[in-house]
C-alpha cells in the first residue's frame, strides 16, 4: 500500500514535470519566433503574413479558434455516435430471440445505460455545440467566440468525460469493477448503491466513474452555453441586430439559456448522489430525502434537456429548409416566439415523467395541463415548415431530404408525446417500448436527421469540397426507412405491453409470437440504419480527402433566391482572398432574419 502510494507520487511528479516542460517549449516558440515583418518588441497586427497556429498535432491540442474547436467537437461527437451505435447493435442482436442467447442480461443493462448516456451527453449535446461553434460567430459576424479559451476548456472537458463514462467497460476485463447498470435516469436507491447488487462496493465503482464523467460533460455544456450567450449578445457585428438575427442563432441562444438553468442543477444532484455513495449522506435514501427527491431533481434537469437537444435541430430545419424551397421561412417571428415559449414551458413539465410514481394527483393534473400546452408551440413550428414548403420551388438535395424527413419524424414523435402527456394513457404506456419509440422518433428522427442535414449543407464550407450526392441519397433513404421501421415497431411493442429495459421477453406480457416478430422487425430496422451510417461515414471521409476542390462559392445557388447568408459570404471572402490575395470586397449583410437591413435589393 505504501509502495503503491510512492509509485503514484513519483508518477504524478513526473507528469507535472512533463506538463512544465511542454509548457516551456510552447512558450518558447511563441516568444522567439521572429515576426514576419516589422520586428518591433511589441507584436503588431501584421495581416496574413504570420502564422496564427502551430502545425500538426500541437495545433489541435492548443487551438482556440472557433472553427477548429467546432471541427473537434464534430469529430468527437461522431466517434461517440459510432460507439453508442455499436452498443445498441449488440443490444438489438440480443433481442432477436426471446431468451438470453448472445450477451448476458447484466452486460445488456450496462450497454443500455451507456448507450443512452453516450447518445445524449457525448453525441447530442456536443454535436449541437459543434455547429454552434463553427457557425454562430460566422452567422453573427463575430471575430470568434466571446471567450475563446473557455471555449477550448469546454471542449477538452469532453474526452475525459467520455473515458470516464465508458470506464467500466474499459476496466471490466481486468478488475471486479462493473460498468454502470442504472439506465441513464440513474434512479435511486439503485444508483445510490443500496442493496446487494453490482451497483455498490467495488463493482459499483463504474457508477462513480460515470457520475464523474457526467459531471465533466455538464461543466462543458455550461461553459459552452455561457460562451454562446455572450457571443450572441455582445459580439454581434454592427450589421446584425435582433430583428435580423438568424433562426439558428435564436434557437442556440434559447438552448443555451436552458442549459444555464438545467445543467448546474444536474451537476449538483450528481454531487449529492456521489456523496450518498461515498460519504454516507442520505439525500436520496429512504431515511433521508427519499428516492422521489432524485426523480424531481433529475427531471427538472431532464425535461429541459430533451429540449436542449431538440431546439437547435428545429433551428437547423428552420434555417435549411427555406434555402431549398426557394423562399423565406414562413412566419419567422412566430417560429422565434414558439422557440422562446418552448424554452419557458419546458421547465414546467418535468413531473410528467413521474405520473406513475404515486405523487399527489393535483400535482399530476397541473403537469398534465402544461405538458399538453407545450404541444402548441411545437405544432406552430410544424405548420410553419409545412407552409414554407407549400407552393415552394423544392430542390431535393441531401440536406433538404433530411430536413423534410426530420419534419415527418417530428410529427410522429410529437404526437406520441402528446398522448403520454395524458395521465390515464401514460399510466398504461409508461415504462413500455412505446416511450422508447416516442423519444427515438425525436432523438433519431429529428436530432440525428438535422445533424446530417447540417453536415451536408455546410460540408462545402467546412471542407472546401462537395460530398458524393449518390451516396448521400442512399444514406438518406436507408436512414429514413430504417428509422421508421425501428421506431414504429417499438410503438406497437409498447401497445402490446412490452416493458422497456429488458434483455429478454420470455415472460408472458402479451401475444408472444407477435412480440417476437416485432422485436425482429425492430432489429432489422437497426441493421438498415447501421448500413446507412456506414455509407455516410465513408462518404464523408472519402469526399474530404479525395473530392476535387470546389470552385463554386455558392454551391446551393442561394444568391438566386436572396438567401446567401453570412457564413457563405464569409466563405466567399475567404476563397477570394486565398485566390487573389486581394482586398475585401463589399459586403452585403444577409441573415435569414425577419427584416432585411440594407433592403433586400442588394441581394438580387
Amino acid at each position: 500500500m505504501v509502495e503503491a502510494q510512492l509509485v503514484l507520487t513519483a508518477l504524478m511528479g513526473l507528469f507535472l514535470a512533463g506538463v512544465a516542460v511542454w509548457l516551456s517549449r510552447i512558450e518558447d516558440w511563441r516568444s522567439y519566433t521572429p515576426l514576419a515583418g516589422g520586428g518591433g518588441a511589441v507584436g503588431e497586427e501584421s495581416g496574413y503574413a504570420h502564422n496564427e497556429k502551430p502545425s500538426g498535432l500541437i495545433r489541435w491540442l492548443t487551438t482556440v479558434d472557433h472553427k477548429d474547436i467546432g471541427i473537434l467537437y464534430g469529430v468527437y461527437s461522431i466517434i461517440a455516435f459510432a460507439v453508442g451505435g455499436i452498443m445498441v447493435i449488440l443490444m438489438r442482436t440480443e433481442l432477436l430471440t426471446p431468451d438470453e442467447a448472445i450477451i448476458g442480461s447484466q452486460f445488456y443493462n450496462s450497454l443500455l445505460t451507456s448507450h443512452g448516456i453516450t447518445m445524449l451527453f457525448l453525441f447530442g449535446t456536443p454535436m449541437i455545440a459543434a455547429f454552434g461553434n463553427y457557425f454562430i460567430p460566422l452567422l453573427v459576424n463575430a471575430e470568434d467566440m466571446a471567450f475563446p479559451r473557455i471555449n477550448a476548456i469546454a471542449f477538452w472537458m469532453l474526452p475525459p468525460g467520455a473515458l470516464l463514462v465508458w470506464a467500466g467497460f474499459l476496466v471490466v476485463p481486468f478488475t471486479d469493477i462493473q460498468p454502470a447498470q442504472t439506465a441513464w435516469t440513474l434512479y435511486t436507491p439503485l444508483s445510490a448503491g443500496v442493496g446487494t447488487g453490482t451497483q455498490a462496493g467495488v463493482s459499483g465503482l463504474g457508477i462513480d466513474f460515470m457520475l464523474l464523467g457526467l459531471h465533466f460533460t455538464g461543466l462543458s455544456a455550461t461553459m459552452g452555453a455561457i460562451n454562446f450567450i455572450a457571443t450572441i449578445f455582445t459580439d454581434r457585428g454592427s450589421d446584425v441586430n435582433w430583428a435580423n438575427l438568424d433562426i439558428f442563432s435564436w434557437t442556440m441562444l434559447t438552448q443555451s439559456g436552458l442549459i444555464l438553468f438545467a445543467f448546474p442543477l444536474l451537476g449538483s444532484a450528481l454531487i449529492m448522489l456521489l456523496l450518498d455513495r461515498n460519504f454516507g449522506t442520505t439525500f436520496f435514501l429512504a431515511e433521508g430525502g427519499g428516492p422521489i427527491l432524485w426523480q424531481h431533481l433529475f427531471w427538472f434537469f431532464g425535461h429541459p434537456e430533451v429540449y436542449i437537444l431538440a431546439l437547435p435541430p428545429m433551428g437547423l430545419v428552420s434555417f435549411i429548409l427555406p434555402k431549398f424551397s426557394g423562399r423565406k421561412l414562413f412566419g419567422f417571428k412566430f417560429v422565434v416566439y414558439s422557440t422562446l415559449a418552448i424554452g419557458v414551458l419546458s421547465f414546467g413539465v418535468w413531473a410528467h415523467h413521474m405520473f406513475a410514481t404515486g405523487i399527489d394527483p393535483r400535482i399530476r393534473a397541473s403537469f398534465e395541463a402544461v405538458s399538453l400546452a407545450i404541444a402548441i408551440p411545437s405544432a406552430v413550428k410544424v405548420f410553419n415548415w409545412t407552409t414554407t414548403l407549400w407552393g415552394g420551388n423544392l430542390r431535393l438535395t441531401a440536406p433538404m431530404l433530411f430536413c423534410v424527413g426530420a419534419v415527418s419524424n417530428f410529427i410522429f414523435g410529437g404526437v406520441t408525446g402528446v398522448f403520454t402527456a395524458a395521465i390515464p394513457i401514460d399510466l398504461v404506456l409508461h415504462d413500455t417500448y412505446y416511450i422508447v419509440g416516442h423519444f427515438h422518433y425525436i432523438l433519431m428522427g429529428l436530432l440525428a436527421f438535422t445533424v446530417f442535414a447540417g453536415i451536408y449543407y455546410w460540408f462545402p464550407i467546412i471542407t472546401g469540397k462537395m460530398y458524393q450526392k449518390r451516396l448521400a441519397k442512399w444514406h438518406f433513404w436507408l436512414t429514413m426507412i430504417g428509422t421508421n421501421i425501428t421506431f414504429f415497431a417499438m410503438l406497437l411493442l409498447g401497445y402490446l405491453g412490452m416493458p422497456r429495459r429488458y434483455a429478454t421477453y420470455t415472460f408472458g406480457v402479451g401475444p408472444q409470437q407477435i412480440i417476437e416478430v416485432l422485436h425482429q422487425v425492430t432489429t432489422l430496422g437497426a441493421f438498415i440504419l447501421l448500413v446507412g451510417q456506414i455509407i455516410w461515414v465513408w462518404n464523408m471521409i472519402q469526399s474530404w480527402y479525395e473530392a476535387p476542390t470546389l470552385q463554386d462559392n455558392d454551391p446551393w445557388d442561394l444568391k438566386e433566391t436572396g438567401q446567401f447568408t453570412n457564413e457563405w459570404g464569409w466563405n466567399e471572402r475567404r476563397l477570394e482572398t486565398a485566390i487573389a490575395d486581394g482586398g475585401e470586397e463589399e459586403e452585403a449583410t444577409m441573415t435569414d432574419g425577419g427584416d432585411p437591413v440594407d433592403g433586400s435589393a442588394d441581394a438580387e
Binding site: T9, L16, R30, H50, T62, R149, I150, A152
Partner: protein, 134 residues
C-alpha cells in the same frame, strides 16, 4: 487581444492552457473522490496553477502570484471546513484525535489543505522573488 509585451503575435489562435486546466480538474476530482493523496494534491496544484496561467495569458492579470496565493487560501479554507465537520468539539484534544486517526473525510480535507498551503507558498515566494528582481 491577448498580446503581451515582448511576446510575438505568432500563434495567437492557440493556447496550451485550456488542456492543462482540464487535466488539473480531472486529477483533482479523481483524487479527491477516490481519496488518492498524490493524485489529489498534484491535480489541485495543476488546476490552480493552470488557472493562474490562463488568466495571465489572457491579460486579465500582470502577475500570476496573487491569484495563485488567493486560490491557495481558498483551498485551505475549503480543506479546513471539510476537516472541521469531523470534529466533535473545537478543542485541541478533538483535533489531535481526528488527525491521529484520520477518516476518509479528514483525508480529503488534508489533501485540500496541503495543496492550498503549497499554492500559497509558491504564490508568496513568486511575489517576493519578482519584486526583488524588478
Amino acid at each position: 487581444m491577448d498580446d503581451q509585451p515582448g511576446l510575438s503575435d505568432q500563434y495567437r489562435m492557440s493556447s496550451p492552457w485550456p488542456l492543462i486546466v482540464v487535466l488539473g480538474l480531472l486529477f483533482s476530482e479523481l483524487g479527491l473522490l477516490f481519496n488518492v493523496f498524490p493524485v489529489a494534491v498534484g491535480g489541485l496544484l495543476l488546476f490552480v496553477g493552470a488557472i493562474a496561467g490562463i488568466v495571465l495569458e489572457s491579460g486579465y492579470a500582470d502577475r500570476p502570484w496573487n491569484l495563485l496565493a488567493g486560490l491557495g487560501v481558498a483551498l485551505c479554507v475549503l480543506g479546513a471546513l471539510v476537516t472541521v465537520t469531523q470534529l466533535d468539539s473545537v478543542t485541541l484534544d478533538a483535533i489531535t484525535t481526528v488527525v491521529g486517526q484520520p477518516n476518509g473525510i479528514v483525508g480529503r480535507g488534508v489533501e485540500l489543505l496541503i495543496a492550498g498551503i503549497v499554492s500559497v507558498v509558491i504564490g508568496a515566494g513568486g511575489r517576493v522573488a519578482e519584486s526583488e528582481s524588478i
